[in-house]
Assembly symmetry: C2
Homo-oligomer: 220 residues x 2
């Protein structure tokens, strides 16, 4: 019991690498098909064929089409780092807390958010279009909103810990406001319908978040 | 030419009253069918039958199903006053400009907005569900967003005329921000997904609009 090495790593390194390669191939295939055909017209057998694996392999790893889309989503959101590590434990997320000034920390957080937004927008369109006709996707979208809320709550909790939140503002209320203002729908309304640039949006979001969340003496 | 009485009022008062009654009957029938069946499954012949008029009468007055829905929308939005008078010319809209204090004027505007929101929410759901599958409805929604933008611009223009806008804020930018924050989607995210009450939403909207739009010395 003194040996704390995970025995699976020694039992089957080849099998693990193969499983990883299979997972990537299925997620690649699924991402291509979802964005080209939409959710409804993508089927698990077609994804399996496109990935060059059996249908049983796809079902064993991802269970349902909705869960497969959730995994594609998480991988796209992660953008190159391991999407199975929770967001709040990733180095890229933790880096923002090294910024002491809360105004600068908010600016850093919103800039990162806009970069991610550009990476996920095609897939988000797939999810939104599908959610209108498929209840499991509507439920998936609800879960995604909830996941984002919890990631933002970690951020606002840190502001509270540092006594940066404006008087009377609870962590949950701060999280709700950040979560709302930063919602993709608002980005779309301003950039697509009103023609704002991404920079104009970032300026607006920073100013509004700073006024919503922080003690006035921190930015005046 | 000294006589400025509209001759039609004397030519056919009975015909005018009849035309008005027909318009109301068609709009009533259309509102019932749209909210019960949705946009796609409502047809002009079915609306005509429900209203007890000919299909030709419906088409003559409203041209297309989309235009019929737009007229139902405007009437619901108007809530008892003549929906053919532009919003910015209605007494209920002009009343808010009698409030001199801009903070109170914003509060009055957002309270009226929340009342209207409750009246229109069923019809808005019809339009949103339909817009996902019907291009003419997607275009209608775009026009509705634009109409709302122009109504809000009249409001922010008055703030600018009274020199109440915060320094550096243009009337168009102020309009964009008001239009965005007040968007129905944001109300839904906070009340339905996060469980806020209408009062909590109103408090949030007022505080955020005041900070977004007004000179700081007006509210500090």
């Amino acid at each position: 019991m003194a040996d704390n090495v995970n025995p699976r790593r020694y039992d089957s390194p080849v099998r693990e690498r193969r499983a990883e390669a299979t997972r990537s191939a299925v997620l690649d295939a699924a991402e291509r098909m979802f964005t080209a055909r939409g959710f409804v017209r993508t089927t698990l057998p077609a994804v399996a064929e496109e990935a060059g694996v059996s249908l049983a392999t796809v079902k064993l790893a991802f269970k349902t089409k909705t869960e497969l889309l959730l995994n594609v989503w998480h991988r796209t959101l992660a953008g190159g780092v391991d999407d199975r590590v929770p967001v709040v434990e990733r180095d890229s997320y933790k880096a923002q807390f090294e910024i002491a000034d809360p105004v600068e920390r908010i600016r850093f957080a919103t800039s990162s958010g806009i970069v991610i937004r550009q990476r996920i927008s095609d897939l988000m369109a797939v999810i939104e279009a599908g959610a209108a006709v498929d209840d499991s996707l509507a439920e998936l979208r609800r879960r995604m909103l909830e996941e984002r809320w919890h990631v933002i709550r970690e951020f606002t909790q840190r502001l509270a810990d540092d006594d940066h939140l404006r008087p009377g503002l609870s962590v949950d209320q701060a999280t709700d406001e950040f979560w709302l203002l930063n919602h993709l729908g608002n980005y779309r309304l301003l950039t697509e319908t009103r023609g704002w640039t991404a920079d104009q949006y970032a300026d607006w979001l920073n100013r509004t978040l700073v006024h919503a969340l922080l003690r006035p003496e921190l930015y005046q």
